[in-house]
């Protein structure tokens, strides 16, 4: 071999080595980037998560992180987009568009190696641990159900098919837009009537925030209009003093709050509502029905609290009805507020416990987490309720720790904190 040939040979060898190296290195490099890509890690089992809301996404992501990719995670979600309920009352007030609150599911899949199935669950066989969907089936070692809520129309059956005329708008989406359009079309001097179902329901302060957001819009654009709030509860269920003061100070004479009013009958055509005490006719009517755990919980038979909510352990969020099935989020039976932040907290305690159990270790016997919930009372001002919750080893439930409470008054500063809350929780849940 002369010098020139040898040099060429070395050069080619290096080149070949390089490109071979690059080819073989590429997948592991990508794995390192993705952090938790499942191909290179030995899998010890599969967790299926039903539901891609705040709770389901958080559980999926954190199981991948805390198991260092060794637990396979599949999410089954029927919608192709995530629409945030938090901040959706601002669509009614006019300071947000529904499109500001809508996101894709791509990043959480890519970043954490979560397997995504866009489909709808039809049956869950808890004995063979098999889930059937409209377009396929899948089996699980552990199942996490994060089904959100279903509306109960059994006491007002004529409303189920009248959701175009009388939307609940209690799941953010086109109904929120519909309700906003009805408010835009309402003449000045019109009456907006809404109800509050008897607790527990999704987002305790949400209905009162809604009344405030509608008042914010009407005060600016249709100041002769009125709002009637028919509350099935004996009093405002969350931030009572603050909302009462807001309605007096910011929207004087506009919000007519009527407690102990359970809706008995609704005439869809005339938008007339009858309660046990009175009859009111609305220009725009918003009925928020009572709620229960979403359909997947019903399919699995884990809705064992009055056939409505799901009883769970607050250490693992495992169902008390069916082993190896965990339930998180608004669907559970608890004293905890049904809020998005709370759903993510439950999801992480559940995720951590599932990882520990699958590694044959003991989950944290006394979890602690914090809840911060903001309500907007105008386009810029908000107020909080914030509490740390601790597991009580005697009562076996989460109880409020000392120091929790609400704002002294709503403020623009807290409005900015509330926007920051949304930015941070969306980033944590969706990426």
């Amino acid at each position: 071999m002369n010098n020139v040939k040898r040099r060429a040979f070395i050069k080619n060898t290096i080149k070949a080595g390089f490109s071979l190296g690059a080819v073989s290195l590429a997948p592991s490099f990508l794995t390192a980037c993705a952090g938790l890509n499942k191909q290179n890690t030995k899998t010890i089992g599969r967790v299926v998560v039903i539901g891609g809301g705040y709770a389901g996404l958080t559980a999926a992501k954190y199981i991948r992180i805390w198991s260092a990719g060794s637990i396979e995670v599949m999410v089954i979600e029927k919608s192709s987009q995530f629409v945030s309920c938090p901040l959706s009352n601002l669509v009614l007030g006019g300071s947000k568009s529904i499109h500001d609150l809508t996101f894709g599911y791509d990043l959480v899949q890519k970043n954490h190696g979560v397997t995504w199935i866009k489909d709808e669950v039809t049956t869950i066989d808890t004995t063979t641990k098999k889930i059937t969907m409209k377009r396929g089936e899948v089996s699980y070692d552990r199942l996490i159900i994060a089904p959100g809520i279903d509306m109960m129309y059994d006491t007002l059956p004529n409303l189920e098919t009248a959701q175009q005329e009388i939307p609940h708008a209690w799941k953010a989406g086109w109904q929120t837009v519909n309700l906003r359009k009805q408010l835009e079309a309402m003449p000045d001097g019109g009456v907006f009537v809404m109800n509050v179902p008897r607790a527990p329901y999704r987002c305790p302060p949400g209905p009162y925030e809604r009344a405030s957001q509608v008042a914010s819009y009407l005060k600016a654009h249709k100041p002769k209009s009125k709002i009637i709030v028919l509350d099935a509860n004996a009093e405002i269920t969350s931030k009572k003093g603050l909302f009462t003061k807001v309605w007096v100070d910011i929207y004087p004479g506009m919000v007519d709050y009527r407690p102990n009013n359970i809706i008995a009958e609704v005439d869809v055509k005339t938008k007339t509502v009858k309660t046990d005490f009175e009859t009111v006719t609305a220009s725009v009517l918003n009925i928020i029905p009572p709620q229960r755990a979403g359909k997947p919980a019903q399919l699995a038979g884990v809705d064992n609290a009055d056939k409505r909510w799901c009883e769970v352990s607050f250490i693992t969020y495992e169902s008390t009805a069916v082993p190896n099935i965990h339930v998180i989020g608004d669907a559970i039976d608890s004293n905890l507020p049904k809020s998005a932040h709370m759903a993510t907290n439950q999801a992480r305690i559940c995720a951590s416990a599932v990882v520990e159990l699958m590694f044959n270790r003991t989950p944290d016997p006394a979890p602690v987490f914090a809840n911060t919930c903001y309500s907007f009372v105008s386009d810029k001002e908000a107020m909080h309720v914030a509490t740390v919750y601790r597991f009580d080893t005697n009562k076996k439930i989460m109880v409020a720790a000392e120091g929790g409470g609400v704002s002294l008054k709503p403020s623009v500063q807290e409005g900015d904190y509330a926007q920051a809350w949304a930015a941070n929780i969306w980033s944590d849940v969706l990426t």
Partner: protein, 129 residues
């Protein structure tokens, strides 16, 4: 030649000691703050302070924060000596051990910019119920 090998073995020993020391530091982190109790409690802060404390929107970045600074702030929120809009509610609900372990946990987190998911147009096919 003899001198060189002594030098080499010394540096090897120093290297081994420093690796062992690093390993010890890492394992103490595993033992104290990287437990299910603290990692879930720390993650509970994400709603306002971002994933692993990498906050967006101008909120306090806890990732990589000096542990003493974190503890001092939380203790001051807890005893009321530092005014707050929201943080006193959380600080009062935690015990001093949890505050110290959270301080250690967040001090070990890398500062990396949190990703911002991009809003998109709601599809007409999105379920209405």
């Amino acid at each position: 030649m003899m001198k060189y090998s002594i030098f080499i073995s010394l540096s090897v020993i120093t290297f081994i000691i420093s690796v062992a020391h690093a390993a010890e530091v890492v394992s103490s982190t595993e033992t104290f703050s990287n437990t299910p109790h603290i990692r879930t409690l720390a993650a509970s802060c994400a709603a306002c302070h971002g994933s692993n404390g990498n906050a967006l929107h101008g909120n306090a970045v806890l990732a990589g924060m000096d542990g003493d600074k974190f503890t001092a702030a939380m203790v001051a929120f807890k005893d009321g000596s530092r005014p707050a809009t929201v943080m006193h509610r959380h600080a009062k609900g935690l015990n001093v051990d949890e505050i110290n372990l959270l301080a250690e946990y967040f001090s070990k987190q890398k500062r990396v910019p949190s990703q911002v998911p991009q809003p998109q147009t709601l599809k007409s096919s999105h379920e209405q119920r």
